[in-house]
Amino acid sequence: GEAPEDSAAGDGGGDNSDYKACIVSDQGGWDDKSFNESAKAGLDMAVEELGIDHATAESSADADFGPNVDNMVSQGCNITLGVGFLLEGAIHDAAEANTDLHFGLVDATFTDDDSNTVELDNGKPIIFNTAEAAYLAGYLAAGMSESGTVATFGGIQIPSVTIFMDGFVDGVAKYNEDNGDEEVKVLGWDKEAQSGSFSGDFENQSQGQALTEQFISQDADIIMPVAGPVGLGAASAASADGDTSIVWVDQDGYESTEYGDIILTTVQKEIATAVKDTIAQDVEGNFSSEPYVGTLENGGVDLAPYHDFEDEVPEELDAKVQELKEQIISGDIVVESPSTP
């Protein structure tokens, strides 16, 4: 090949190369098809647009959180973001020890020893009321189900997962209420008892596949896996079945996965945008420690387009979903979940 000419480094939009934004993942890693990946995407967007310096660190164990965050601090990162509730401790400690630096925490709030939410002057929680969007997805799924059975399962039972499942279940219940004669069943999550099906981790795709096959055999024809890459196993099983579709979560699965043709919609969590905005504010000197809460109202959570299913979703159903969305935004409907941040 041709040798390139030496060129000066530095491209992209603005030039804020003396500003450094850093991010630390949890065990999922940057390619978890879920919140780590989204958060990283947000950072990449910020780097692209603002021309800032950056650093990233993947954690592979709980013991990695502290050292990883600490390394960011030693590098002098202006803002360090941790992804996931597991990083709360590490980010919290670092924030208290380094009051001159800024921190962010995706998907969790800062808490004290007794789990009460606390506010830090230099720490910003970035959280999402996903139940709102999941509610719409539940309603939509109930309306789209031909078998009258839909299902959901999680990776690990944690609030940021079960909040999806709560919203989903409530959405289905709302559908049943609106259509008195309907009795759409939801498998995999009992909101009342807060218990249900979990694959046990966010890695084992075959387990997701096996669980999904079981749901299908119980007649479920729309399934919402809330389990990061384990959802790929679910999608694979659904795609093999042919009559089953998937409600994806986090990033629009139509784009991020290879299963676009069976993805009815996605319960979107705009982590990337939120992360990018947080960094941008900080670069501009407008850091605020006030929590960012993604809602339908501010677009932090949303239902993705139906893509391939556009033609299949009946107009009335879509209209109803839009109406519900308005009602939630206006506060006429409040989606409740024990996990609401």
């Binding site: 040798a3 013991a63 401790g89």
Partner: protein, 426 residues
């Protein structure tokens, strides 16, 4: 065939110790058994140095790092670019590769030992203490695995034992209210008991029913994983208001006290690791119990004939190995992490196996191997954060090192070193 490898039942595990240790068992080039005629060749200091096993260890580490370097260079985008026009300007390739690799390894060193670019003295010396922090649980769990190896037991259950140790130590640490000191002692003992329980189950099953310990410990690992996941969903267990699967923070009275002031994380866990190393050394080399353990490990038949109860030893060793791994769990939850989470054990149980192998199942060796791997770990964080090199490199480097150290003739062959003269006594 050499005598020890022909002995029935000495089996795989007995050779875990032998391999690489004495050239008699592990080294076919000497023909297995050799009479005790040493130094038939001209004895020379140089020869001794060149054939010494520590040199083999050093060279193994060097080769391991070299393997890592190749991967680092190969995966680097700038290096890949220069490869695209390698024939046009080969120097670019070498310069870039050299640059990328040295940068990564310098970051590794700065993260593990001493950071001369740091802003303050404290920050400059902190990396070394971080290595010790990372080494602490590795040493403890590694000692447990080593104890098993020396006794002819292949304990893959470090992971489960660490988890159980963490569960009990942590729970006692935040659930009880006790005066400082006493609380710590109770929590640490809880960690020991938890690990010993999990190891003891495998030991008792092996002793009573002959159930293969490799399988039972693997199964117990998974069970422990699900157990902690289950417990962390129970409010009575986590004692926290949060629905997240994590416990309340361990009380200050039960925390392993820091050895240095604040930004340092080095805590009393490291002292426990040092004490455990000495204790395990004494146990194995100087106590009657250790004599029994080693005897069973080397030749269970002869041990039985000498009046040693193999079943009792099997149980004791597994329980003690578990106790050490449990201590590793306790040091994590009481020392560095402060609360229980599902991933509290990380992959400690498995890392500990490589640590014990690298340490050749000797207490001091395990200690040093733990330090080395701890340094890799601590340095790995910095390497990843500063140069973006994936931390998985470290796994590759570590496994190459262990493989090479287990095959001294290969290393000697690679570097054309002379073979050691005769067989060294232990």
């Amino acid at each position: 065939m050499s005598e020890s490898s022909a002995a029935p039942g000495s089996g795989a595990s007995a050779e875990v110790i032998g391999a690489g240790e004495t050239s008699g068992t592990g080294d076919p080039s000497t023909g297995g058994r050799q009479p005790a005629r040493r130094h038939e060749a001209r004895p020379g200091v140089l020869r001794d140095i060149l054939s010494g096993s520590w040199l083999v260890s050093l060279l193994s580490i060097a080769v391991g790092l070299l393997a890592g370097a190749v991967l680092i260079a190969a995966s680097n985008e700038s290096v890949q670019e220069t490869l695209g026009y390698f024939f046009a300007r080969p120097a670019d390739f070498f310069v870039t590769a050299w640059h990328v690799v040295t940068e990564a390894y310098i970051a590794l060193f700065r993260g593990a030992i001493f950071d001369w670019q740091a802003t303050s003295f404290v920050r400059a010396v902190r990396p070394f203490t971080e290595s010790l922090v990372a080494a602490t649980p590795l040493i403890l769990a590694g000692l447990g695995i080593a104890l098993g190896f020396r006794s002819g037991l292949f304990n893959i259950g470090g992971q489960g034992q660490v988890i159980l140790g963490a569960i009990l130590a942590g729970f006692l640490g935040y659930w009880l209210t006790l005066p400082a000191g006493l609380h710590l002692v109770v929590a640490v003992l809880g960690g020991i008991a938890g690990g010993a329980l999990w190891g003891g189950i495998a030991g008792a099953l092996k002793a009573r029913t002959g159930a293969n310990e490799v399988i039972v410990t693997i199964m117990l690992n998974s069970i422990a994983g699900y157990l902690i996941a289950y417990l962390l969903k129970q409010q009575w267990f986590t004692q926290s208001g949060s629905a997240n699967p994590q416990s309340r923070d361990v009380d200050a009275t039960a925390s392993l006290f820091p050895l240095l002031p604040d930004p340092f994380r080095l805590n009393a866990g490291f002292l426990i690791a040092v004490a455990a190393t000495v204790l395990v050394w004494w146990l194995l080399e100087r106590s009657t119990l250790g004599f029994e353990f080693r005897a069973v490990g080397e030749n269970p038949h002869a041990a039985r004939t000498a009046g040693i109860s193999v079943g009792r030893v099997t149980f004791l060793v597994m329980a003690l190995a578990g106790a050490l791994a449990g201590l590793a769990g306790a040091s994590q939850v009481l020392g560095t992490e402060d609360k229980l989470t599902i991933g509290i054990a990380g992959s400690l149980g498995f890392d500990a196996i490589t640590v014990a192998l690298l340490g050749r199942s000797r207490p001091l060796g395990t200690f040093l191997a733990g330090l080395l791997f701890g340094a890799f770990k601590a340095g790995g964080y910095t390497m990843q954060a500063q140069t973006g090199t994936p931390i998985d490199i470290i796994l590759v480097v570590q496994s190459v090192i262990v493989l090479l150290i287990a095959a001294p003739p290969l290393v000697r062959g690679l570097f054309r070193l002379p073979a050691p003269a005769g067989k060294e006594a232990r």
